[in-house]
C-alpha cells in the first residue's frame, strides 16, 4: 500500500502537467486565431461562462440536464442490476437476458431518439436514452462481477448449506460491489451522452438544447461554453464515482 503512493503521486503530477499544457495550447491558438473564428481562447469561454447576466440561462440548462440524468441514470442502474441478479439466480433466463441487452445496445441511440420522442414525448426522451445506456453498462458489469466470487468462497457457502438466495446476499453481492461501482463510474458519462442526444431532438431546455441552438445560430462562445459545461459535469461525476470506487475497493476487498 505504502509503496504505491509514490508512483501515484508522480502520475497525478504528470497528468496535471498534461492538462495544463493542453489548456495553455488552447489559449494560445485562440488568442492568435490560428484556427479561425470558431476556436475561441479558453479565457474568452471562461469569461462567457461567468458573465452574471448568463448565469440564469446556464443554471436552467444545467438543472434540466442533471434532472434527466439523475432520473435516467438511477432507472438504468436499478433495472440493470436487477436484471443481472435475475439472470444470475434464475439461470435459464441468463441467455435471453444477455441477448436482449446486447440487442438494445446494438441499436444506435440516435436512431432510437425519434421513436422515443413519439412514444414518450420530448421531455422524457433524454432520461429514457440515459436509462438505456446505463442499463446496458450495469447489466454487463453486474453479470460479469458475479463471476468474481472466488471458488473457495463458493465451496464455503456450499458446505455451510447456503441456499441460492443466501449465497447471493452474503457472498455474490458483497464480492461484486467493487466491480459494480466501477460499472457505475463508466455508465455516468455514457448516460450524459444519452441525455444530450435526447435533448437535441427537441427538449425545451438543457445543455444539449444549448449546444444545438448555439451551433445553428453560430453563437461560437455560447457553443463552447455549453460544451465545457457538459465536460465539467461528465468529469465531476467520473471523479466522484471514482472516490466511491476507491472506498468500495477498500471496504470489500
Amino acid at each position: 500500500m505504502a509503496a504505491s503512493a509514490q508512483p501515484r503521486e508522480g502520475s497525478v503530477l504528470l497528468g496535471a502537467l498534461g492538462i495544463g499544457m493542453f489548456l495553455l495550447a488552447w489559449e494560445i491558438i485562440g488568442q492568435n486565431r490560428w484556427l479561425g473564428l470558431t476556436w475561441p481562447a479558453l479565457s474568452e469561454v471562461v469569461a462567457f461562462l461567468l458573465t452574471p447576466s448568463r448565469q440564469a440561462l446556464f443554471l436552467r440548462a444545467l438543472t434540466a440536464s442533471l434532472g434527466s440524468l439523475a432520473v435516467g441514470y438511477c432507472l438504468g442502474l436499478v433495472t440493470g442490476i436487477a436484471a443481472a441478479m435475475l439472470a444470475h439466480t434464475v439461470s435459464p433466463m441468463r441467455a435471453s437476458l444477455d441477448t436482449m441487452s446486447a440487442f438494445i445496445h446494438a441499436i444506435p441511440s440516435i436512431a432510437l431518439a425519434p421513436l422515443f420522442i413519439v412514444f414518450l414525448g420530448r421531455e422524457s426522451t433524454p432520461a429514457a436514452l440515459a436509462a438505456l445506456s446505463t442499463f446496458f453498462v450495469m447489466y454487463v458489469t453486474t453479470t460479469s462481477s458475479f463471476a468474481s466470487s472466488r471458488p473457495e468462497w463458493i465451496d464455503l457457502m456450499r458446505v455451510l448449506g447456503a441456499s441460492r438466495l443466501t449465497r447471493l446476499r452474503m457472498l455474490d453481492i458483497p464480492a461484486a460491489i467493487p466491480i459494480i461501482v466501477g460499472g457505475m463510474r463508466l455508465a455516468a458519462p455514457s448516460a450524459l451522452i444519452g441525455v444530450i442526444i435526447g435533448e437535441w431532438f427537441g427538449a425545451s431546455r438543457g445543455v444539449g438544447v444549448l449546444i444545438i441552438n448555439a451551433m445553428q445560430n453560430f453563437q461560437i462562445p455560447l457553443l463552447w461554453s455549453a460544451v465545457v459545461l457538459a465536460v465539467i459535469v461528465s468529469l465531476s461525476l467520473f471523479a466522484l464515482l471514482g472516490l466511491l470506487q476507491e472506498y468500495a475497493e477498500r471496504r470489500f476487498r
Binding site: 473457495e152 464455503l156 455451510l160 448449506g161 447456503a162 452474503m170 464480492a175 460491489i177
Partner: protein, 271 residues
Amino acid sequence: MSATGTAKESGLPVGPAPSVQVRDVVKKFSLDDGQPLLALDGISLEIAAESFVALIGPSGCGKSTVLRMIASLDTPTSGSVTVNGNPPAALAANHRLGVAFQDHALLPWLDVRRNIELPYRVSGVPVDDERVAQLIALVGLTGLERARPKQLSGGMRQRVAIARSLVLRPEVLLLDEPFGALDAVTRRHMNHELQRIWTEEKLTTLLVTHSVDEALFLADRVLVMSGRPGHVIQSLDVPFARPRTVETTRSELFHQLQDELTAALDSRAEH
C-alpha cells in the same frame, strides 16, 4: 443432532459405529484432451464417531478429493460416501458440517467476529455471542474481533477459519491441509492449539495432510494413501495418550512410527 437421531431410529448401532463411511470409491476425471484420468481406485475408509483420522499421501494422490466428497463438493464416479447412513449433502444442508480449507476462505469484507458468525447467519440460527467469544478466545484472537482478514497474519487467518468451522458444533469436521501454507514454527504451534481445541470439542474429524508429524501428533488413526490412482495402503492406530506434548514428539516410538509412515509413503509414491 437431527442426523444422529435418524441414525438411532433406523436401528444403526451408535457409539463406535462409523460416522463417515467411504466404500469402494472410484473417481475418474477427464483431462482437457479427453484422456481419462483415474484419480481414486476403489478407496474405502471409515471414521468412527468422535475420532480423529488423518489421511496422508503424496501430493496429487486424491486425498483432497476424498475430503471434498465427504463435504459433498464432489461426487464419486462409482462407490458410495455416507455420513451417518445419509448422503453427505444432507449433512451440509442441515448445517452440521464444519470445513477448514487449505485457503482460509475468509470473506474480506467481514471482520474476525463476523467471519466466525457466518455459519449462524447462513443457517438462520440466532448468533450465540457467548459461543463466538469463547471460540475467539480459544484460538487466541481476543482483542482482534474487529480486525479484517487482510490485517491479520497467515496463521491468524487460519485460526479464524478453524474457529468458523467449529462454531456450530458440527457433527463432522473436515480439515484440508489447513496449515499447509504456514511456516514450520507457526504450524507446530497451530497443531498444539488444534489438539487442545479438539480435546475440548471431541468431533468426528478428518484431517488431510502431507505431513507425517502432523498426522501422528493429532490423529487417533493415520491412513496412508498411495500415489495415483489413490487407495489406502496402510492404516495405523496411534498409541499416544492425550494430551500429547512436545515430549511425545521426542519419544523413541514417535520417531519409529514417523520412519515407518515415511517409508510407506516413499514406497508407493509416484515415480
